[in-house]
C-alpha cells in the first residue's frame, strides 16, 4: 500500500507499507525531504511498525515524535506530515 502527501510549505512525504493481522508492517518512509542524521529514517520506520491499522493521525504523529531524539533535524518534513501519508496509504482502497 502506498500513500503520498505534499506537505504544505514542505516536501513530498511517501509511505509504503503492508498490513498484517490488523497492524502496520514493512513501513518505509521516503521522499525528497531533508532529515539528519540519516539513521533517523529507520527510527521513524520502526516507530510506525506495529500500530493498529485504525490508529489515528495524532497517535501516529506522537509515536514518531517520541521516537526521535532532540538532535534530529527535519526540513520539509514533520511527524504530522508522516502521519497523513500513513493514513493515505491505508485509505487508498477506500478512496479508489
Amino acid at each position: 500500500m502506498h500513500g503520498e502527501y505534499k506537505m504544505p510549505g514542505g516536501k513530498l512525504v511517501v509511505i509504503d507499507l503492508a498490513v498484517r493481522d490488523g497492524r502496520l508492517a514493512d513501513v518505509q518512509l521516503s521522499g525528497d525531504f531533508f532529515l539528519e542524521p540519516d539513521s533517523a529514517l529507520d527510527t521513524i520506520n520502526r516507530a510506525l511498525e506495529g500500530h493498529p491499522e485504525h490508529a489515528d493521525e495524532a497517535a501516529l504523529a506522537a509515536s514518531v515524535r517520541h521516537a526521535l531524539s532532540a538532535d534530529v533535524m527535519m526540513y520539509g518534513l514533520s511527524p504530522e506530515a508522516i502521519a497523513v501519508a500513513v493514513r493515505r496509504a491505508l485509505h487508498r482502497e477506500a478512496e479508489a
Binding site: 505534499k6 510549505g9 518512509l29 521516503s30 525528497d32 525531504f33 532529515l35 540519516d38 529514517l41
Partner: protein
C-alpha cells in the same frame, strides 16, 4: 563557535576534468569531512560530468522515483547522494552543478531557510549580471519568471556543511520524463500540470555557452567572497575512489531506500 563571514575564509576553487557520477558522490562525502576536520580550506567545487546520470536524494525510493528499465535503455547510471532533496536528471553539458564545503560557523544562528538562501546569494547576483531575474524559492529552489532554474540540498557533518546545487543549463525534457517518475502529488502545490514546464533552463534564458555561464559565476564568487585556484589532493582522490567502489556504487547504497 563564533559566526564567521565569507571573507574570514580562504576559499579554494576545484574545477577538474569530467568525473564519473559515482566519484562525484564520493568526493562530496570526502571533501565535507576534510573541511570539517580542518584539513582543507573551505572550497567551491564545480562539477564536470563524464557520463549521464540520475542522482536521487538520500531518502528517495529508487523504485518510486526511477524507471530503471528506461534508464538502462538510455545508458543512464543511477546514483544516490548523501543529501536529501529530489531526483536530478543529468546529461554532460546540460547542467551546472557545484558544491560548497563550508565550516558550520558560516551559517551559525541561521534557520535552514535562511542558510539555503545565504549559500546561493552569490549565484542570484551572477544570474542578475547575466540578465536573469532570479530569486530563492523556499525551501530549496532557485527560480525565475520563466520557471525553476536550480535545486539545492544541504547536509551537515562534523563541523562542516555541504551545500550543493544543480542548475538546468539545457534539458531533454522528454528523456527526463521517460526516466524519472514525477508524481501528480508532487506537483499539487506548484500550480502547473506539466512537469516539463516547471524547469526553464539557463541556455534559453542567457543565449550563452555553458562555459561562459560558469565563468561568470566563478568571477562573481571571486569578487564577492575571494577565491583562489586550488586542486584536489592526491590523498583526497584516492579516498574518494575507494569510497566510490565500496559504498557509492554498491546496490546496498543505491537501493538503500528501495
Amino acid at each position: 563557535m563564533m559566526r564567521t563571514d565569507w571573507r574570514d575564509h580562504d576559499w579554494q576553487l576545484i574545477h577538474t576534468a569530467p568525473q564519473s557520477p559515482t566519484l562525484h558522490m564520493a568526493l562530496d562525502d570526502v571533501l565535507t569531512h576534510e573541511v570539517g576536520a580542518g584539513r582543507r580550506a573551505p572550497t567551491l567545487r564545480i562539477w564536470e560530468w563524464a557520463s549521464p546520470a540520475v542522482v536521487i536524494g538520500r531518502f528517495q525510493s529508487l523504485r518510486n522515483e526511477v524507471d530503471s528499465e528506461a534508464a538502462r535503455r538510455h545508458g543512464i547510471e543511477v546514483v544516490r547522494r548523501v543529501s536529501g532533496g529530489g531526483a536530478m536528471f543529468i546529461e554532460p553539458g546540460n547542467t551546472i552543478t557545484y558544491s560548497i564545503y563550508a565550516p558550520q560557523s558560516l551559517v551559525k544562528g541561521l534557520s535552514f531557510q535562511e542558510a539555503y538562501a545565504f549559500f546561493d546569494a552569490w549565484v542570484l547576483q551572477a544570474l542578475g549580471e547575466l540578465g536573469i531575474k532570479a530569486w530563492y524559492q523556499p525551501l530549496n529552489d532557485i527560480t525565475s519568471e520563466g520557471g525553476k532554474i536550480a535545486g539545492a540540498a544541504q547536509v551537515h557533518r562534523g563541523g562542516a556543511v555541504l551545500h550543493h546545487v544543480t542548475m538546468a543549463y539545457d534539458i531533454d525534457a522528454a528523456k527526463m520524463l521517460d526516466v524519472l517518475r514525477i508524481g501528480r502529488e508532487k506537483l499539487s502545490d506548484k500550480g502547473t500540470v506539466s512537469a516539463a514546464k516547471r524547469v526553464d533552463p539557463l541556455r534559453s534564458q542567457t543565449g550563452l555557452p555553458r562555459e561562459a555561464v560558469i565563468e561568470r559565476m566563478v568571477a562573481t564568487f571571486r569578487r564577492l567572497h575571494g577565491l583562489s585556484d586550488g586542486s584536489l589532493r592526491a590523498d583526497e582522490l584516492v579516498q574518494a575512489e575507494a569510497l566510490g567502489h565500496t559504498k557509492f556504487s554498491s546496490p546496498a547504497w543505491i537501493g538503500d531506500v528501495a
